[in-house]
Amino acid sequence: MILLGGKNATEKDSVGAVVRASGHATLLHCYQCGKCTAGCPLAFGMDYNPNQIIRLLQLGRMKQVLGSRAIWICAGCWTCTTRCPCSIDIARVMDSLRVIARREGQTAQGRDVASFNDLFLQSVRRYGRVFELSVVLGLNVRRRRLFHDADLGRFMLARGKLRFTAEKIKGVKEVRRLFSRQGAPVRTRKERVKE
């Protein structure tokens, strides 16, 4: 049940932040034609379809949106954005939602999504590219399920997709500089422990 009006004030302010962050003046002109959902290659796995995400934002249901799986399942392929007749950049809305969800620690699958993002970017910052084994192991350690998906490792090893040693790219320094210019969004483990 969606409660609106009176005391059930909508979360207008937080919705407004998403709207602005994604480069819009308003999302209220979306007339719910569903073209974004129609073309979405991942809608089958979403709990809310892309048009419903926009709809929830129209109704000011920020918490519901931030808690949804859909925003993390979105691959950012931009099919929705290119096809929207109301010129709404749905992919960017999804992006902004992920940023806010991450910042507010409100992610659908508990810490998993946040952990994966941390480890992925940490790896990129350190090596200039992803060191798969460390990301996988790091994630499994944090999830306290050490051998999760371990059987897949066999196949990856056999195809040479998994290395035991990290490989740095040439321009690691430049990559780090990129990260620092970006305001260091990824914290190292030490930093986190300190916090």
Partner: protein, 663 residues
Amino acid sequence: MPRIGVFVCWCGSNIGGVLDCPAIAQEAASFPGVVYSTEYKYVCSDPGQKLIVDAVKEHRLERVVVASCSPRLHEETFRQVLRRSGLNPYFFEMANLREHCSWVHPDTTVREQAQRKAVDLVRRAVAKAARLEPLFPGKIPVVRRCLVIGGGIAGIQTALDVADAGLEVLLVEREPTIGGNMVKLDKTFPTLDCSACISTPKMVAVAQHPNIRLYTYAQVEEVTGYIGNFKARIRQKARYVDHSKCNGCGTCWTRCPVTVPDDFNLGLGERGAIYIPFPQAVPNKPVIDLEHCRRSTRGKCGACAKLCPTGAIDYEQKDEFVDVEVGAIIVATGYGLFPWEKVYGEYGYGRFRDVITGLMFERMVNASGPTGGKIQRPSSGKEPKTVVFIQCVGSRDEARGKEYCSRFCCMYTAKHAHQILEKIPGSEVYVFYIDVRTFGKGYEEFYRRVRDEGAVYIRGRVSKVYQDGSKLIVRGADTLLGEQVEIAADMVVLATGAVPAAGAADVARMIGIPQDKDGFFQEAHPKLRPVETHTGGVYLAGTCQGPKDIPDTVSQASGAAAKVCGLLLRDELETNPLVSKVNEALCTGCLACQPVCPYRAIQPVTITERLPGQPPRERVVARVNEGLCQGCGACTVACRAGAIDLKGFTNKQLIAEVDALCL
């Protein structure tokens, strides 16, 4: 036997897709009298018509049969073709192969039978064509005066247009002022211009026009006659104020001690027993509502009579009747609102004071309305912060309301939403809708603007509204999310649909206009004759024909005016020659035909008969008024002596048709 030509039309695939047209044409060539027979894709088209003209010349045709669609569609078209060919236009007969054959027998299993039926239909037409006689329309004089019933924006516009063309207009309005529903509105979508500012100047123009005679607080009681020559009786209801003496000073209505709920403001305000509906009323002179007047209810008061400086108050005034003659009638009786209180228990049956209609909202938001333009909850007078609009109340509800869409509600709701968001800072507006229909110029753009301004549209119908403390809880669903929605609202505005104005059925009966299933007046053709009715000389303007917004109403009103000008600016009118004719030699004067005539077209006359070898003697016979007769043929059946024939459908012709089919 006259020389007959037969033209079989394919009507594209309408007929040609089912029937073998060349075979029909070939068979028709063998019918008695047929000297030429052919088929063509579209006989009604320009080359098709030329085909007939050329064949008439080349084969010296004297009668023409076209086997195509319904005579209702193209009989007149082909009569004109005959006229161009130099033949009497009534030397024409049609066989309806489309509505009567191909459309009703499209099934391939009955192809053969359908083909046989088509041939029979042509055989019948040919048999009749051989016996057709030339007919000539008569001429009747025309009264150059037009009666307009209803003084809303449709009646006002049509009256002004007809009057500007130099014709005399009688405008009859049953309320004390003209202006109708439009003048009650605040602003009009999508331009947001003030409704009163654009309609009151027109009202004044009506009152001042030298060619318009205005009857307010009056009703048309009786209409007789026929196109070009109607007679109408107008009842001027007693106003108890002599308008020839009244100067509209306003002393009386400001000092009347009685207060009555004000119907012009839909009960949101109050008025006296002597009143003008609103300050810009036309005429700007009061009437007394005797039902509530203290002098009539308690027998004493007379304050208005004492205060009136011109002695215009006349409590003894009686209804007066005015008999007029007019050449045409334009009906513009408008619309009323769907009586939602009787039907929708889930919206409270009208028990909740803060559940109001769109028209009430118009009065509320109107600067000259009862609240001076302040939007407030009727229950507390406080400003509402959360307002819910419910669309399609009575419209698009087959079960308890009307099946049709009332067309203008989507847009006025969008305008109301805009006005709330504009006038009440921090307000929330929710609109429950099923579909949003923005059919006019600039309407979609306006709808988008209102959504951008913050109106939240929720797709779904509201299933319940109930009072919870000072709030109204509105329970609906967002069908796009598939979730229930509950809104704690301060005010609920219902977009009530449009229905024909009260008394529309009486007007329809009085003038003889058919009504559609919902009671709106039926136009002669939904696309090609939208302002005419099936009764000659009677036209429609505005929402009495169906729900429409102001631009469409004004367009139709001007259309009706153009039709009236086309009719009345002629010196004489051609009558339909397909009327009944009495053979006075055979008529016994029994007058059995008189009561069966629905048009009151038959009257007895005394003729002087001179028979050889006998002194002249007088006797009574029936005579048909050709102006009134609509050619229905009822009298021919009633005539015991067989003295009446309907021209174009004579007994001889009909029997020939039956013979062709049965022998």
